[in-house]
């Protein structure tokens, strides 16, 4: 049974992550990642999608993540200029592995995206590896797995999940 205070610390970290993204404070958000990080979103038809073998929606390392953030901050990321409104609900947080260096976490999410007269939720779960760093955590592995069968209402994954 993992320490309940560890779960509270992880939850606080995930709430901070959600708030930074909902407020579009992308540079502050980028600081939550390690230099050896990965951010992966598999396709909706293959939740187990592995970027080394399969086609996925997103497979960013730190360099590509910086590229994604740079793009989203520009006035020319047309799908997100002006920015959409988002509201992220993160719940059902479970610690699945714990070591002195890292914590593995599973959590559920619903992210509403509101823009241009439409509101569409992205529903899914996170598979995370958090690196312990001084006074908190950083994302080493962030995998957002969607439950929808297609991007029927969304057209794209234009925000960060």
């Amino acid at each position: 049974m993992p320490d309940p205070s560890l779960r509270s610390q992880v939850e606080d970290f995930l709430y901070q992550d959600a708030a930074l993204l909902d407020e579009w404070r992308l540079d502050d958000w980028l600081a939550l990642f390690t230099a050896d990080c990965s951010y992966v979103v598999p396709t909706t038809d293959l939740p187990e999608g592995d970027p080394t073998r399969h086609a996925v929606f997103i497979d960013d390392n730190y360099e590509r993540l910086v590229g994604r953030v740079t793009r989203l901050k520009s006035r020319h990321a047309h799908r997100e200029y002006p920015y959409s409104r988002t509201r992220r609900l993160v719940a059902n947080v479970r610690i699945t592995r714990e070591s002195p260096e890292e914590v593995d976490v599973q959590a559920s999410f619903v992210i509403y995206r509101v823009r241009s007269g439409d509101m569409a939720p992205y529903v899914g779960h996170y598979e995370l590896t958090l690196a312990r760093s001084e006074g908190g955590f950083k994302f080493r592995k962030r995998r957002a797995v969607l439950d929808m069968e297609t991007l029927q209402e969304h057209g794209a994954v234009s925000i960060i999940l």
């Binding site: 979103v41 970027p51 086609a55 590229g67 740079t70 799908r79």
Partner: protein, 442 residues
């Protein structure tokens, strides 16, 4: 708007316009279903998805539930996915391998050749009940070309090779280019997304090289940043390959644009790749030239092909990978995309990962480009709500041998569309023909 006048095609003055009701009207939508989708060859699946007996794929083609399966006898067949008894779907997974398909409603069982193999309580039927007549209904036509299976609802449609016509030249270039690497195979992970826009807008968009610097500026900036980080530049890369980029249009609405683009894993270099990857790409390129000669081999290696197989299959072989992008109309203002990436079966893992990286980076729902196309198309569709402005213009390059960034390939699509809807008299323009072979420099 009368369908006869819905396209304004005036090659003499160099003016081509499409009435916006073509993109908004319910009547046009219905007409398209009956006159285009019921009488075209429609892509269904790739042979790599049906390698072994029993392998199947379930897809919705032209609004019909269907599945395609390799039978125990090795033959590939496409069936309407509906039980001949009372109608329930007999194939209930998107993919798999099966010896038979049992309807879960009353238990009628069909083997993977489509025959009705068994049904519970068969003694309840009279003598005239002939189970040989109650096999699964095959799709009227099924044919394949270079590993691509197509179906048609029209029993009288010309054969697929005739249908594809001159476009086969470009299909062959891509298919041949992977022969020495084990041929192409579909990689798992399909991008399925919906756009609130008319289906023809993404056909246009996928054939449109004019919008690249405007819509995709952030992608271009990203490329530049990556290249600068390794001391290279796009200009430098581009100058290594010289050659003409152009648009092509073929009879029956097929066409596309072709351009010289560096960074293709088959087969020209990118400064972003490791030394071992460069060595392998150089080897592949030399092999292509040895096998197919300098002209054909370097065209395979250097030229990206963004093609439309009329009416709804984009065949895209570029520096961002090779994919089939299939477009389905949902309503006059909604379309669905199914996008399949293909990879050479025996491609080195390192090259495979570069290929998939650049495919994702550009042309996928999570990439740095496609989301902005989605925004552009939805924005156009919204704009059509202002009904007092009636016409779209597609006249670029009508007075000259068309460049890739001209619109001849889009006009070719619309001309065939208009013809099939019953509106277009015969007529063409200079660029609406295969161009003379383009000189290629090694």
């Amino acid at each position: 708007m009368d369908v006869h006048n819905i396209v304004m095609d005036d090659p003499e003055r160099g003016i081509f316009r499409v009435h916006r009701s073509a993109l908004t009207s319910d009547e046009v939508f219905e007409l398209e279903q009956r006159r285009i989708f019921d009488h075209s060859w429609l892509y269904f699946a790739h042979e790599s998805e049906l390698r072994n007996p029993g392998d199947y794929r379930r897809r919705t083609i032209a609004g019909r539930p269907m599945f395609i399966v390799r039978g125990k006898d090795g033959e590939v067949r496409a069936f309407l996915n509906t039980c001949t008894h009372r109608g329930a779907l007999v194939c209930r997974h998107d993919e798999g391998t099966a010896e038979s398909f049992q309807c879960f409603y009353h238990g009628w069982t069909f083997n993977n050749r489509g025959e009705l193999a068994g049904l519970p309580g068969s003694d309840a039927y009279a003598e005239a009940f002939d189970r040989r007549e109650l096999g699964l209904k095959p799709v009227p036509r099924l044919e394949s070309y270079r590993g691509m299976y197509f179906v048609s609802m029209d029993p009288g449609i010309p054969d697929l090779v005739t249908y594809l016509g001159g476009l086969r030249h470009y299909i062959d270039l891509t298919m041949d280019s992977a022969e020495a690497l084990g041929g192409w195979e579909v990689v798992a992970g399909t991008a399925k997304f919906t756009i609130k826009a008319n289906w023809k807008l993404i056909v246009e968009n996928s054939l449109d090289a004019y919008h690249l610097p405007t819509v995709h500026q952030t992608y271009v900036d990203y490329m530049d940043t990556r290249l600068e980080a390794v001391g290279a530049s796009r200009m430098q890369m581009q100058s290594r390959l010289s050659g003409q980029s152009n648009g092509v249009s073929y009879p029956r609405g097929h066409g596309g644009f072709l351009h010289f683009a560096p960074g293709r894993t088959i087969a020209n270099l990118s400064p972003l790749w490791s030394e071992s990857a460069q060595t392998e790409v150089t080897r592949i390129r030399e092999e292509l030239i040895q096998r197919y000669g300098v002209e054909r081999g370097s065209e395979m290696a250097d030229r990206s092909r963004h093609l439309l197989i009329f009416p709804n299959l984009l065949f895209q072989d570029s520096h961002t990978g090779f994919r089939f992008r299939q477009i389905w109309p949902v309503s006059p203002s909604e379309l669905r995309v199914e996008q399949y990436d293909l990879v050479p079966r025996d491609e080195q893992p390192e090259l495979r990962s570069y290929r998939l990286e650049w495919s994702r980076a550009f042309l996928g729902p999570g990439g740095l480009a496609t989301p902005d196309d989605v925004e552009a198309l939805e924005s156009c569709q919204k704009g059509y709500g202002a009904r007092e402005l009636e016409w779209n213009d597609l006249s670029r390059g009508m007075h000259r041998q068309p460049l890739a960034s001209d619109e001849v390939q889009i006009r070719g699509f619309w001309r065939q569309w208009h013809y099939l809807l019953g509106g277009r008299p015969a007529g063409s323009e200079a660029g609406d023909r295969p161009p003379a072979p383009v000189p290629v420099h090694a």
